[in-house]
Amino acid sequence: MMSGLWYLAVGYGVMWLGLFGYLVYVAGRVRAVRDELAEVQRQLAGRDVEQGRVVR
């Protein structure tokens, strides 16, 4: 009985860790896309300054 409970606890632990890992992975993707967004915005702003356009 105890060994069965142990496996169950390990199973739950693995499942929660997996889900948490997925959450961390998604958060990492969000960060990467936001960095990319900031970079593209920076490039756009630089281009606008070069061409003398006003950035709103």
């Binding site: 959450l23 958060a27 990319e36 967004l37 593209v40 756009l44 281009r47």
Partner: protein, 228 residues
Amino acid sequence: MAHTSLPVRATRLAIGPLRGWRELALYGGLLALMALDLYLIFVFAPTERVQGDVQRIFYFHVGSAWLAFVAFFVVALGSVGYLWRRTPRWDYLAVGSAEIGVIFTTLTLATGSIWGRVVWGVWWTLRTYLDNVATRRRMAAVLGIFGFVDVPIVWFSVQWWRSLHPQPTILQQGGGMPREMLVTLLVSVATFTLLYAVLLRQRFALERAADQAAALRDLLRAQAEIGG
């Protein structure tokens, strides 16, 4: 164990393993065809000018995709046949073809992803197929609505088709479970719901940021084209 004798008609109609020279010819022919296919793919077919050798995945990918479609068509055929005739062989056909369909669908997705990684630079993207954002969103919305139709069926299936699945216990009259179990269950459900909310918040942010980045990239590209 004694064998039961099947009716002549049933044995004649049953699809079983082939024996003797026919089996040999079938498997031999299949192996020969596979060898010929490999020769054609890797030796006979020319190398695609732009994509190079990775284009050769195409021959596996299309073959697998074709089989996936055929397999699930046969599943539908077998399912209709079973509901119509109620004879097990239609069920055998549907079940057998379903498993094969899953294998070839997996192969289709895997080969497509490998090709996409080399050619597109990503394992998978919907944008390449549906450049028109409005079309993609409309199709996804329709799919989302149709997909949800399955949810109440799954929910009520526990009551409609009584099987090994336990019957509903929480809303049972007189209480179906001890208070400690109910509290534990509710906390578990709440934890999962919170996890969903946190995940959805992140995925929502990801979609929004990716969409903004794509729009800005397009703008940058357009400006570069105008600027020469």
